[in-house]
């Protein structure tokens, strides 16, 4: 049976921003559609409208010529529209089966049978009776997909589904999606990853600043053409000129172990590596394999054995982050608003926060506000932070601007080593480019970087050496030139 979904003249206006500006699109079953755009382009708003989470100001949605009134997620479900959100809508402490039965009207046994049939058909294997928090990201996504399939959907919307998946899991997902498509389910795939569009989709619609800018066949496009449409200008490609790094060792980690008391953290076992001056060491891995613990151990949020970390010929394993900063280390944590900055404080106050001692920001315990503000203004102009109001609370900065501010702040002291954790996570292409350029510049000034990231493309672009973390253990350290993303994928999944 054919399904057609038609969006006509949908508009959604928020105070100060037009999220969707008169968007019209038509989808037909049998094809996989990509909805492409940067963060803030309006694609998430559009799919939230389709799934009933957001009600549009204007416009209508028709499924097979029937006008739909989507006022709640329940309406979307009733009208056979299934949606897998980027942030999973699962109940972590409930079992898989409880998660699935909660919005189903079927009896326990009937539902179990149905789930078993679906899992067999698509080769999923998930234990239904364990709590969801014990599942990997890929398995959680499968639970979400099963939840949709139980209702025999006509339309399946996937919102940035691969952001948490490994290479292997991504391939599996793509196979499943193609199968669903062949079975007549209309698939709408939302992403900002160009490679995935090329690999999976038949047609692509590009959005920019709330507007639909192009609809085309994927076979008529290539990565560059799509990127330019998405950003609205020609992007320069960044490449690191890989010089021979020095052999002057800056930091050395020896037999570092961390055993957590929290069973939901990962233990680190027997970590050994070193980084030379001017070098970037990339650490790849699927999130949740010990990256955040490793970052905390390196930054001093978790104190370890004094001799396990040697930095610039000093043993600093037992020092806290503030003390480590005095040895010229700098940190950019993963969670920008929780760990790196204090959301309710102004930009200039955040700038002052990591510079208690080695600056003239404070006189006899008093805040030297003019000095801090002067300095903040310099960061804002040097690092292209798009605001001129340094009294603005940092929570109102966009992710990209906030990240630039944080990196800028960290580089004030001209540190010898910058440790960053997912520095471009969730940023748009423009901001990613800028951060990448900045990181390359750091290396060019003979300073070092430890880059912990879940984005393999980023690691391959920026690193001189790469290692993979899996279940708290580091793989051998490899030269970046000898590594491919396939090889990283295998190591990230625990293979050899």
């Amino acid at each position: 049976m054919n399904t057609s979904l038609k969006i006509s003249n949908v508009t959604k206006i928020y105070p100060g921003c037009v999220a969707n500006d008169n968007v019209s699109l038509e989808f037909n079953s049998g094809k996989i559609y990509a909805l492409l755009g940067e963060n803030g382009a309006g694609k998430s708003t559009l799919v939230k409208i389709l799934s009933g989470v957001i009600i549009p100001d204007e416009g209508k949605i028709c499924l097979n010529e029937n006008n739909l009134n989507l006022n709640s997620p329940l309406d979307a479900k009733k009208n056979d529209i299934g949606m897998v959100f980027q942030h999973f809508n699962l109940f972590e402490t409930l079992s898989v089966f409880e998660n699935l039965i909660i919005d189903s009207d079927e009896k326990r046994e009937g539902l179990r049978e149905k789930i078993d049939t679906i899992m067999k058909k698509y080769n999923f294997s998930i234990d239904l009776d364990i709590p969801v928090l014990n599942l990997s990201a890929g398995q959680k996504q499968k639970v979400e997909i099963i939840r949709c399939l139980i209702r025999n959907p006509k339309v399946l919307i996937m919102d940035e589904p691969t952001s948490v998946l490994t290479e292997q899991e991504t391939s599996e997902l793509f196979l499943s999606l193609k199968k669903f498509s062949e079975e007549g389910i209309l698939i709408i795939y939302i992403t900002h990853k160009l490679k995935e569009v090329m690999r999976l989709c038949d047609e692509v619609a590009v959005m920019r600043r709330g507007k639909l800018v192009s609809i085309s066949q994927v076979k008529d496009e290539n990565i560059e053409s799509l990127a330019n449409k998405m950003v609205g200008q020609n992007l320069k490609t960044i490449k690191k000129t890989k010089e021979k790094a020095s052999s002057d060792q800056l930091i050395r980690i020896t037999n570092l172990n961390f055993i957590s008391e929290d069973p939901f953290e990962t233990n680190l076992s027997d970590i050994n590596f070193s980084v030379n001056r001017g070098e970037c060491l990339g650490i790849a891995g699927i999130s949740g394999n010990g990256q955040s613990e490793l970052f905390q151990v390196l930054s001093g949020e978790i104190i370890s054995d004094k001799n396990s970390i040697e930095f610039n010929k000093n043993y600093i394993g037992d020092l806290n982050p503030q003390e480590r900063r005095e040895y010229l280390m700098a940190f950019s944590p993963e969670d920008r608003l929780e760990q790196a900055a204090i959301p309710q404080m102004a930009i200039f106050e955040n700038v002052a926060l990591n510079n208690f001692k080695s600056s003239n920001f404070f006189n006899n315990g008093l805040i030297n506000e003019s000095k801090i503000k002067e300095h903040s203004k310099k960061i804002i102009s040097d690092f292209n932070v798009n605001t001129d109001n340094i009294d603005l609370k940092s929570q109102f900065l966009s992710g990209g601007n906030l990240q630039k501010l944080i990196i800028g702040r960290e580089l004030i002291t001209s540190p010898d080593l910058l440790i960053c954790f997912n520095p471009t996570w969730g940023l748009d292409v423009g901001a990613i480019n800028y951060i990448h350029e900045t990181l390359i510049k750091i290396n060019e000034q003979n300073k070092s970087i430890i880059l912990i990231s879940t984005d393999t493309d980023e690691l391959l672009k920026l690193s001189d050496k790469i290692s993979v973390i899996h279940k708290g253990k580091l793989s051998n350290i490899m030269n970046a030139e000898e590594v491919t993303s396939e090889k990283l994928g295998i190591l990230m999944g625990g293979g050899n």
Partner: protein, 310 residues
């Protein structure tokens, strides 16, 4: 020394009776907290229940009206809390504390006219069987219906949470209100219902105190039991069966230390009075040490306000 076996039975029965208000209030609060709402107004709701029950009994003479009236009073006062925290999105902690202060104040005001009035006798069940089995008879028979209900409640609560669909929805809302809302569950409605249910159980707990346990009205007669009930919920790691254990230990030590004081055991009184609080918490902490289970039973959204962004 010969110990009368029926005397032991009576002591156990009195321990169980003193645990009743704790079990009722804790099991009510447990449902509220499992939906992600932290209501610190337990003490206030209990005392409102106590004065409402006693006042209605004195005025109408009907025990049934008094008991259900006390529960209704608990529901009404918890509706204030629900309206503030769920509709006006106020902070749970501050609102709950205000509720307790309000409850204590208003109950003292209403209660002025009821001080010194004797209570009524509350009918007990199975009184004829009281002398049939040694030791067990005083434990099992001759109690009010509220007593039997209280000891069934932890098991009912456990069954409700684990086995019923509505229980599953309550847990889901407490785990992640965002996900629940996206699944089409009306989070606000579920939370209102859980808050009101908690209010009803606290009202009943209060009525038990003023109508059955010590049938009279004394200002501030809950005497901190609401706070103990709150602590039991947390230290039992949101497990109704462990609430039962905790309430019995607390009740038991309270009764036993009275007897010890009466016999004249040479331990400082202050220590004896503090003993139930310390031991209950230690025991509950020890039996709930499994951090995996704690993670699974702790409502992740506890105390956090939820409002749909739109």
């Amino acid at each position: 020394m010969i110990i009368d076996i029926n005397f032991v039975g009576l002591i156990i029965a009195s321990i169980m009776a003193s645990a009743v208000p704790l079990i009722l209030a804790s099991c009510g609060e447990l449902i509220t907290e499992r939906s992600g709402v932290l209501n610190l107004g337990v003490e206030g709701m209990m005392i409102i229940g106590a004065i409402s029950g006693f006042a209605l009994m004195t005025i109408t003479g009907s025990l049934i009206i008094a008991v259900f009236g006390a529960m209704l009073a608990g529901v009404l006062i918890s509706t204030i809390f629900a309206f503030l925290t769920q509709t006006l999105i106020t902070n749970h902690v501050a609102t709950g504390l205000a509720l307790t202060i309000f409850g204590i104040g208003i109950s003292a005001m209403i209660g002025k006219n009821f001080v010194g009035i004797p209570g009524k006798e509350f009918p007990v069940l199975f009184e004829g069987l009281k002398d049939t089995i040694p030791l067990l008879s005083p434990i099992l028979f001759g109690h009010s219906i509220v007593f039997y209900f209280a000891f069934a409640l932890p098991f009912i609560t456990s069954y409700f949470l684990k086995k019923t669909k509505i229980g599953l929805i309550v847990r889901a809302v407490g785990d992640s209100p965002e996900s629940a809302s996206n699944q089409g569950i009306n989070v606000r409605l579920v939370r209102y219902a859980c808050i009101l249910y908690g209010g009803a159980m606290c009202g009943l707990a209060g009525a038990y105190l003023s109508m059955i346990y010590t049938p009279q009205w004394i200002e501030n007669m809950t005497g901190g039991r609401g706070w103990i009930a709150l602590a039991l919920v947390v230290f039992s790691t949101w497990n109704p069966i462990k609430i039962l254990i905790g309430a019995l230990i607390f009740g038991g030590l309270t009764i036993i230390q009275f007897h010890m004081q009466a016999i004249g055991v040479r331990i400082p009184v202050q220590f004896l009075t503090a003993l139930p609080y310390i031991v209950t918490i230690i025991v509950l902490v020890v039996i709930s040490r499994d951090s995996r289970k704690i993670r699974l039973s702790t409502p992740s959204s506890l105390g956090k306000s939820f409002h749909k962004d739109n």
